[in-house]
Symmetry: D2
Subunit: 337 residues, 4 copies
């Protein structure tokens, strides 16, 4: 399935850049409500991290006119792996080129996925060294658990909207070497609604889901991990008390078994607080495929996901869902994890 892409060349999701038209409020959301730590500022960007993230930064918050996703960064497994991926991606015609690397990183190879999202791969990375006030009593924890707000531990995954899922899924599995974990396929398997993939044992670090509005390069959601389902419930309390719009959850997906809470950060991007799910360590994992009937309402328990969950992404696209999406498929794609 991976063609000649060496498995494990990509080690893990490194960081995600989110654009926000309301930088102060977005920073408040991630720092004061989710409890992330700002570690650096540069130009229009603030760099943040979860208390358990080992890298210097896993979220880059950049002021922009519209919400959306900027550069998505993947860490390579070695310098050689980085070169191999750069060569393969270049051969596929998707290269943008080399940069000197963002904050805390060495040179990075930038490219686009078939849908147009900007990504990069890098190897050299600074480990986070906590300043005294963030020093943890745990030697294996890069930073103390501050007890501020939700207290998200680490970046988990992101879900991207794609005009056409299939070429993007193939790109991720064949060129990046990700393992395909789950799929939603309708119309007797001919219509690929969404695919969930990962370079690690984490269930998925990247999902592509059909953009029902026919957009390109859009974000569905960015997801941060907490250790227990109870932490997700607590997040719902905190977000609600602070007037943040909760779109769906806390509830449990059937796909991924993830326990989710989706809210919109003030800039407009959908952000998930996530726990549960399951790890995959099998080398020969057979992707789980869901058809219309099996998928049902998309949640394992309780309430059906709202229409906005299919239709809204960032940047927002006005108007109704593209006519290219048959009505009977809209419900069908109402659940990503």
């Amino acid at each position: 399935m991976r063609g000649n892409a060496p498995l494990h060349d990509v080690a893990h999701l490194g960081s995600v850049e989110l654009y926000t038209p309301k930088p102060e409020r977005s920073l408040w959301y991630f720092r004061d409500l989710l409890g992330m730590e700002p570690v650096h500022e540069s130009g229009l960007s603030v760099y943040l991290r979860g208390y358990g993230d080992y890298a210097t930064s896993t979220l880059k918050l950049t002021t922009a006119q519209d919400a959306g996703v900027g550069v998505i960064s993947w860490r390579a497994a070695s310098p050689e792996a980085l070169e191999r991926r750069a060569a393969a991606i270049t051969a596929a015609g998707l290269a943008i080129g080399w940069t000197n690397g963002d904050y805390g990183r060495g040179r990075s190879f930038r490219f686009r996925d078939p849908d147009g999202h900007v990504m990069e791969v890098y190897y050299e990375e600074q480990k986070f060294v906590a300043p005294p006030e963030l020093h943890s009593n745990l030697k294996n924890l890069p930073q103390k658990y501050t007890g501020r707000g939700v207290g998200v531990r680490r970046v988990d995954h992101l879900a991207l909207l794609a005009n056409d899922v299939e070429p993007n899924r193939k790109f991720a599995t064949e060129l990046l070497g990700f393992q395909l974990r789950e799929q939603v396929r309708y119309d007797r398997g001919t219509k690929e609604i969404g695919s969930w993939m990962s370079p690690t044992a984490i269930h998925h670090q990247l999902a592509y889901v059909m953009d029902v509005k026919g957009g390109r390069g859009r974000l569905h959601h960015f997801s941060m991990w907490v250790d227990n389902r109870d932490d997700v419930l607590r997040a719902a309390d905190i977000l609600t008390e602070n007037g943040i719009f909760i779109e769906a959850g806390p509830s449990k997906h059937n796909n991924s078994q993830g326990f989710y809470l989706y809210s919109y950060e003030p800039g407009g991007n959908r952000v998930e607080v996530y726990s549960g799910s399951y790890l995959v360590t099998a080398p020969d994992w057979e992707p789980v495929t869901w058809n219309e009937e099996e998928r049902g309402t998309g949640t394992y328990w309780g309430a059906t996901l709202p229409d906005s969950f299919i239709e809204y992404g960032t940047p927002d696209v006005k108007g109704s869902a593209s006519s290219k999406v048959p009505e009977h498929l809209k419900d069908a794609i109402a659940s990503l994890s």
Copy 2:
């Protein structure tokens, strides 16, 4: 507010009788899924208990043609309190009369609330004595925690549908001496949609909610307690894996702050697994009143409660909601806790 009803004459909710047309399946639900313990059988009835219930039995499951609620039992605070309540209820014209008492109890005074639900008050009660296989290592726990299914600890409350909430609420506060905790009132406070009351520090042990179908003597739900919100999530997993219909939750009410999970036991009655909420020990508690706007969708987070939550009760009444209920009120009453 309590007229001349001595406060504290009623000590707590004793037990609830549920009717079921599917006794085998209902027993499976309460015993194998919720983890309750059957302790006695008599005629068409099975008596069950939660592992932390101190009384012999808190749920009586009786075979009947239709689902619904049978006798609702309240424990008096003393023999004198029992006599006082019997006299006051008789004076109010609601008496049915004395019985020798159900399993594990002494003589009981039976009566009807204004809506027609059958209730009784009793004082004498056998404490549960565990058989060897249910003996707990905790001397203050009447029975071991078996680890079977959800493992509900104790009865918490019940919610009854009422054709007209006000007289029933007055009955409970004035004749039974319950403290009114919360209310939902619409149309500038003139329309009483629901009232939540309790004879104990437990937020509510009895709720009356408007029967939108104009029925009488119907049940909205019966509720069992678990100690942690995580236990409610686990309940959702267990019920779903066993094909039980989950109507709403796990989620959090604004009213009562309760963390709820509503499912239909196989006989058709709505049953809640419940945690969270808050205790009230203030002697001068001022009831919290919610109007249309404040009430919103009825849940503190996430998904709106489904229409069935307003319209369905047991026994079921066919047809649409009574025309006596204005359309704009239907949404309004979509949340009880």
Copy 3:
């Protein structure tokens, strides 16, 4: 058991005053780590509250030379109940006299328990009205859940050391009308090691435990409630990351079934973060009595409580445990909840 003390004259524990020689650090502990809210300052005192406390303040932190407990306040159920308790306590020779009441309260009747702890009863009380920044989205919650630190909900109970438990227990049950819930009795029941009592359905709001050092008027611990056991675990993370000494737990008592975490606030007082336990609504509750053998190590699971748990109280008394306490009893009293 309650003699002629009208049951329910005392409604609930109102507040506890703690003395601290390190007021700044103690305030940091309660405000920034436990997440309580300071609401008032007066002279050497700061008044705080849990987010779910309905009264204006439930903890008064007062600068003093030594740690320890100051005035312990109980709310009466009515103005008449207040007068009745004042008269009865005066008749028992324990009166100190009337005061105009502390912050947020009307006149209060002050007295001593037989061991010398200072208490008072009051009825009039201001309900807390949140300033805008603390306004909750929940109409039934007096203040928002801030998400800062542990986030304790409300005062739960306090445990006092007593030179001789029996007269203090009799005082609380006979003069205050508390219901005795559990006892530890050794030497074939002749030696009363500890007693747990409550005026509410909450398992205990007052405990007396033998002072093995023969002191008088000392505090064993003050306890704040959280809703879930997981919140107690989170508290352990937060306290440890901030260098607070954890003496015992998180673990589970056999007595009370409480899930506990004991730490020393910087002033030296032992403070508990507490959940679990069980409610008692039975009017004829039979106290659960534990003897040496049944009590065992005092915890239901895991590690034995440390010696300090028996020997340390505030103010601290130097030297070893009083010779009046036989060696074989010391272990025995190593667990209070």
Copy 4:
């Protein structure tokens, strides 16, 4: 660090065989208390699985005279990887030879680690196919969550005692390709007390800890995963109610950050119910090394681990700890995760 061992040749821990002199009682422990599912019997062995294990079986319970560990199985990443590992281990002189494979597996290469524990590597494996009564409503879950007992999800790791940790740690990293995650080193780093390693993102799947009694081939503990810390607390309730000896926990290790509960299954083997911890996806992870001072009592919170935690392993070795272990080191190794 891994010499010429191809990284990722070993995919994950496959299964562990435990010996038990009390097969009926051990089966009761794993099936009725931990909630594992027996799937096969053969000769003196019963095969079990956690509800989330994708392989047919992850625990083999074999009747034997003494408790201890039998064959420890690792899954290779591919047929080629299996051959490579077999060749390398043979070259190292540790081979036992090929077998036809245990239940549900293809041919397996058996060998010994330097300490003498028996291991094997295999690639071909049957995925578990649930019988109808275990069918899950989740298509991505191999078997329903039954709600029986603790409900452990999957195998997590095992910890082995070793006469000399270093050669075994080198074996695992160099010949099996595991990544070293954490170490405990005393005497200025010269004395290797324990090492934690993994072939996956799971913090550790194999630990070697010094055998203070100088034994060989012994087991310290076998560990099963649950998703939430609350599940570990629930496990403590269930095990205690059933008379199982809890040696330590629930509590939190500093090493691994794992939330642990250690009990002895009736056959005598130490079994852990485990949650929390952290994932490692960094390709260049720098092992965290703890010295005497940093390690402290070995737990992050609360009670010191008991002496038995260092001294007891299976099969049990009578007599005191070997004189080869200096007294000051014994405390030091009192915590494994």
